[in-house]
């Protein structure tokens, strides 16, 4: 970590009340001698203070509107969580195998073009019973796991690599800050998985200077994902719990490959959502991308 990075972190932690006394002493000793850090410290404090003080009171109609919907039954009543049984696990595995065994041989070009993907989507509809079972129980209980496993993309690997990079905040006219960002991007663009592996997605190649969305687009072009599901319209609720990556012409949602069938099935049956294509591209990959077109 460079000196500037280190002191920026100390300043930030101090502002949040997360710095111990000895580190705070070190920070203030540095601020005594460094006018630029002093200036940045003031700026960071002003911005933070502004963000914290600038809190509006929500209108009363927020609470009343929500509770009216809840009490009147306009909002669907929540169901108790269902434990994922061995049967459901078996069914979901069986569904995956069934698709590979029964669909793949009939589609020699599977995953190589949108035509075969459309056909695959059609074939998938014949699997709807198993998938629905998985969708109802499997995805619902999985989606939260997925969302937060996905958030673990800043692993040791990322941080260690980033620590080797040069200063990331002052040198915007330098290649270094972009490089530091790539490490975040590559992990978050590939790490949506239902395993605990920090390394998932790290083998996906990254070019320097790409944003997170560009990395996903490139990975799609290179067939790096297990499956690419393209949709248009309003999304079912379950997808709102995942990390979204915001591109100019689409939103990318990364989900564990094991949830692909459940998600595709849900998207297909969702009334306001149009499933445009579903391409199975790389059976070795552990992440599926859902492309939501604008």
């Amino acid at each position: 970590m460079t000196g500037h990075e280190k002191y920026t972190e100390l300043m930030s932690a101090y502002i949040d009340g997360e710095l111990d006394a000895s580190a705070a002493d070190e920070l203030f000793a540095h601020l005594e001698t460094c006018a630029t850090c002093r200036s940045l410290f003031d700026l960071m404090r002003d911005v933070s203070g502004e963000m914290r003080s600038d809190m509006a009171d929500p209108p009363a109609s927020l609470l009343s509107g929500v509770m009216d919907a809840v009490r009147s039954g306009a909002a669907d009543v929540p169901a108790r969580p269902k434990k994922k049984s061995h049967i459901v696990r078996y069914l979901s595995i069986a569904a995956c195998i069934a698709i590979i065994v029964f669909v793949a041989p009939r589609l020699p070009n599977l995953g190589c073009g949108s035509k075969s993907a459309d056909m695959a989507a059609t074939e998938n509809s014949t699997m709807s019973y198993d998938q629905k079972a998985f969708s109802d129980r499997g995805l619902a209980s999985n989606m939260y796991d997925g969302a937060y496993d996905g958030a673990s993309y800043d692993s040791d690997v990322t941080e260690d690599t980033a620590a080797d990079m040069d200063s990331y905040i002052y040198a915007y006219d330098d290649a270094a800050p972009e490089s530091a960002e790539i490490n975040d991007g590559s992990k978050s663009a590939g790490a949506m998985t239902d395993t605990d592996s920090d390394a998932v997605g790290s083998d996906i190649p990254v070019s320097p200077g790409d944003t997170e969305a560009e990395i996903v687009a490139e990975n799609i072009a290179n067939g790096e994902y297990y499956s690419v599901v393209t949709v248009k319209g309003d999304l079912p609720d379950s997808l709102y719990w995942f990390d979204w990556i915001f591109a100019d012409d689409a939103i990318y949602i990364l989900i564990p490959a094991s949830d692909t069938d459940a998600a595709a099935s849900e998207l297909e049956t969702s009334p306001e959502c149009e499933l445009i294509s579903h391409e199975l591209t790389n059976t070795d990959a552990d992440t599926t991308v859902i492309v939501v077109l604008n």
């Binding site: 929500p58 669907d76 929540p78 939260y144 800043d154 972009e178 997170e212």
Partner: protein
């Protein structure tokens, strides 16, 4: 509301007590609304999205995991709903540092000399607006974690636990987000240029 009370309220809702949801709304509405307001910059949209987030949370409460905070679960939903609405309203093109960089040589970019202008001269409203624009320029993961920290006031340990990342990562990502945001504001001329490290110092690193 501590996590035990939160869990008790969720259990009551799941047992069929609809009224029990009210405490969860009351306890989180200010943070949810402000998160939406900071993202959308429009009171009506912020209200609509906040209501939608709570209703979706209610409907999906069965899939909420007991070992996590309801609030963080809710903030993620709110955040995604905001992005969704921005997309639908055609506000997808956020201002970003890299886009500005594409318009010309960064080294030639003029940074207004505001050295003698104390920050207090800026209207508070203008500063809030500039911060809001600056937030849009951040990488999504940086923006999210900074908003979680500043709007929700969660500790690093709480954020780390909620997002399933290490505390050191929380610390460095928030610092990076603040650094970027500061950089952006200096570039925009919101703050004096003296707030930025000069190029000699950077090249020494």
């Amino acid at each position: 509301m501590d996590i035990t009370e939160e869990r008790a309220a969720i259990d009551r809702v799941l047992s069929g007590d609809r009224n029990a949801f009210e405490v969860l709304v009351a306890d989180n509405q200010k943070k949810v609304y402000n998160l939406a307001l900071k993202m959308l910059k429009n009171e009506q949209d912020a209200l609509d999205v906040s209501q939608e987030a709570f209703i979706k949370a209610y409907t999906n409460l069965g899939s909420f995991r007991a070992d996590s905070r309801f609030s963080v679960w809710l903030y993620r939903m709110t955040y995604n709903l905001c992005i969704d609405l921005m997309r639908k309203n055609g506000r997808a093109n956020v201002i970003s540092l890299s886009q500005e960089d594409d318009t010309g040589e960064v080294s030639q970019m003029e940074i207004p000399d505001g050295r003698n202008d104390p920050v207090s001269l800026y209207e508070k409203k203008e500063l809030a607006e500039e911060i809001s624009i600056g937030l849009s320029s951040l990488q999504p993961d940086q923006r999210e974690i900074l908003l979680l920290r500043e709007v929700s006031g969660m500790s690093y340990a709480e954020i780390a636990e909620s997002l399933n990342i290490r505390e050191g990562t929380v610390k460095s990502r928030i610092a990076r987000a603040r650094g970027r945001l500061s950089e952006f504001l200096v570039k925009r001329g919101t703050f004096p240029a003296g707030s930025r490290h000069n190029s000699e110092e950077v090249s020494d690193i």
